[in-house]
Symmetry: C2
Subunit: 281 residues, 2 copies
């Protein structure tokens, strides 16, 4: 059995940066540091961080006297104001690409455009983005969600950084006949783009596809969905032990890809386990 | 034989306005008035205008001492400057929708965007639009014309007012992955849109389709092309006499539509001739 690993899988720039910032902060102080919600969407990494003194809290007030790290997905403008008012020692690990998207939402809103965000309403990144629009803001996740009556004549579009280009293209296509002016910020992270493309191409070539990453990770879920469309034998796992030997039966080639918040050591273990199971089958 | 007439065919707002302005000017002065190039793209109307003292010239200098009417498609910024410098009595009949598109090109250019115009390079409207961009300006007429290497990161798009929404959608789809910011002014005139849609739907329902309008009219040519895609038996004519009775043989239903610069009386004569030929066949 041959295992092919997507080179663009695993930690992205923003995730690596946030993790480094958290460890560095934890090392530099002699007490616990806190993150508001999970720093990244990978339970295994969050657990390890906890062991190193980087602990998750849900309320800003709980961080009193401790450094507070802002998660990679960012927080809402309201929360950011509260953090500033609370005068806690804040380390902002918001991904710079997410920060840029927040700035664009604010700019569009300030300039009087109706803001349309392509993303998942309940994702922390999207909640953060939404909060930077003062008035009209619509969140949709597919072209079918567009309510024509609710579309203003001047619309600005910003995408959750982990969305697909294809989805953005479909949305824009539907918007063009409805508006007189359209402003699109292509805020889809290039890493996301490259990872999705490479993974889909890999799925086309192999007999079985394993997608590794947190179940709460939007980009991993999307990756698994995209690969599943191409290859029915696609499986989303968080840790190597979840691989069912049955999945690999008859497979001569197996592809492995991973979401942006999946650490390298988990990916390596996944590859090793597939190879072991392959040689034993 | 039944004849169906597209209600959205014929004179559009901008054309009607330009013709009225020309006749009113001719009536109010006791000498010839001039237009720089044909006022609209319909040879029959231009000929009638000429009989009423509205004559076509090619050079601004030739208008000395006579009112000069600016054609509905607009002129270039350079020409406009020359007109102003020449201190001629200028009546600007540029379609307000074209004027708006010119303003958008200028604004995009001033704001540092690369300007992409969707239209026909040699059409006077497009030549006018192009002239309002200071630096980078690209004209394309289909997605295949896009040279990826020449696309700036921040692109603004303006369309010739008579383009199709479908073409604009295709262009934008291709641009999205190439840029970080995209600004689209949907400058396609709604009349164009409605006319194209109605004509295409009509072409679907009838046995033969007649498209009436100047051979030099971009929007009529486009209309004919769109209908021909649906119905092979589509014919572009300028005047009723051009209808070949052979075209109508076996047709139970005939659709008639007309470009934006086709006068009502020609459309009426076309319908009448089809009915006469139909009853005689």
């Amino acid at each position: 059995m041959k295992v092919f690993l997507a080179t663009a899988g695993g930690f992205c720039f923003g995730v690596k940066r946030a993790i480094n910032m958290a460890y560095e902060t934890a090392e530099s102080v002699s007490k616990d540091v806190y993150t508001l919600g999970p720093l990244i969407h990978n339970p295994q990494v969050v657990k390890e961080l906890e062991a190193s003194g980087v602990k998750m809290i849900d309320r800003i007030e709980a961080s009193k006297g401790h450094p507070l790290i802002i998660r990679s997905h960012g927080i809402t403008l309201d929360e950011m104001t509260k953090v500033k008012d609370a005068k806690v020692n804040c380390i902002d690990a918001t991904c710079p690409f997410v920060k840029k998207a927040q700035d664009y939402v604010k700019k569009l809103s300030d300039d009087g455009y109706g803001v349309l965000i392509l993303g998942e309403k309940n994702h922390p990144e999207v909640k953060g983005l939404m909060s930077y629009a003062r008035g009209d803001v619509i969140v949709i996740s597919s072209p079918g969600d567009i309510d024509e009556a609710g579309i203003k004549k001047r619309i600005g579009v910003v995408a959750q950084t982990t969305q697909t280009i294809e989805n953005l293209q479909k949305i824009i296509k539907k918007l063009i006949p409805l508006v007189s002016e359209l402003r699109v910020y292509n805020t889809i992270c290039n890493t996301t783009n490259v990872r999705q493309k490479e993974s889909v191409e890999l799925a086309r070539r192999v007999d079985c596809m394993i997608v590794v990453g947190g179940y709460n990770s939007a980009n991993t879920n999307r990756l698994a969905k995209m690969c599943k469309k191409i290859l029915k034998k696609t499986y989303h796992i968080e840790i190597p032990d979840e691989i069912d030997p049955e999945w690999l039966k008859g497979a001569e080639t197996v592809g492995v890809t991973a979401g942006a918040s999946t650490p390298p050591y988990i990916i390596e273990k996944v590859v090793k386990r597939i190879e072991n199971l392959g040689s034993g089958l």
